[in-house]
Chain length 197, copies 2
């Protein structure tokens, strides 16, 4: 059986997004996207192993706010940020309070789960077989699963900036002992993999 | 001329102390001291370079709360946490709202500065000659100097734990671009040195 992983790019002080996220600024204000994700988009060859790890899962779970900039009732025209062929290529369970029909785009199907975080994880485990389940973000969703003690491996991609305000990882999630599994520092990002005890 | 450095041991989520710091629990509740500082006390040979770096300064600045568990007016009997021979062996400027005579213990003299953080740094620079000035902690003091843009080099010693609550580093300090100067991961602590732009 696989484990539950979480890969996320963060500032040194734990911010994974800024303030006021919206369609034309998906990561909000106060975030320099070229710092937070430049390693991934501008230097994919230098971080090939880590990038492959992010997408190596049999199923994904993400928060509503990661799927859509909208809140409240769904705009059925909104099909996510990723175009016709999202990179997940596996079932993705989206946490939401608003029911919606499943949506298939290329090799990825998004399922919208209104029964809560534990149920979404259960559904993801059911379809992931021997592969891992990846908690894809954002901060609130990762924090929710950390609080539940459901994440086995936290893979932090720490980028060289201090962010003033926004969505903060590992905030009010209780106390957890970690174990460093691997670390690979590079100028543009320090890749740290921790096992959560 | 030297630079302004700051070495500090932190949890992965930026906590450098827990809650309710007091004489018999200097780092408060919710902090496992053996995780936060075990590398320093139990494995000094494995981290000799980093430990030497912490104390390699011509002067130090620290917050009142790092010098003393007390608040308000001074208890003149309190001579700090470090016994008769504190490890600093240089002038230490303690930020406080309460005047106090300077205190010499071994090769270290503590000066108590009521004129604010900028003035304390100025005094430290004046006596440090060509050597660095080190901001010794705690979180509130480091955050104050980060906010002022006064720290040139931030040396984070990131220990494998998530802490629930307490004194948090890099909290409400504005936005700063960093540059990774060096990194050395070990199982008990990841040493990260950043230059603050």
């Amino acid at each position: 059986m696989g484990i539950v992983t979480c890969d996320i790019a963060t500032s040194v002080n734990g911010f994974v997004a800024g303030t006021d996220q919206r369609p034309d600024h998906p990561f909000g204000d106060g975030i320099d996207e070229s710092v937070l994700h430049g390693w991934m988009f501008d230097e994919p060859d230098d971080h090939a192993t880590e990038i492959a790890g992010i997408l190596d899962a049999g199923a994904f779970v993400m928060g509503r706010n990661m799927f859509s900039p909208g809140r409240g009732a769904w705009d059925p025209e909104w099909h996510g940020w990723w175009g016709d062929e999202p990179p997940y290529r596996a079932p993705v369970f989206v946490l939401t309070h608003h029911p919606r029909e499943s949506l298939t785009l290329g090799a990825t199907t998004f399922h919208f789960v209104t029964a809560g975080a534990e149920r979404a994880l259960e559904l993801a485990r059911d379809v992931s077989g021997d592969r891992n389940v990846a908690i894809a973000g954002g901060a609130a969703t990762v924090n929710q699963y950390l609080r539940l003690g459901a994440i086995d491996e936290l893979r932090l991609h720490v980028t060289p900036s201090i962010v003033a305000a926004g969505e903060r990882l590992m905030d009010a999630v209780g106390a957890h002992r970690l174990e460093l599994v691997s670390a690979r520092p590079t100028p543009s990002v320090v890749h740290l993999t921790y096992r959560v005890a």
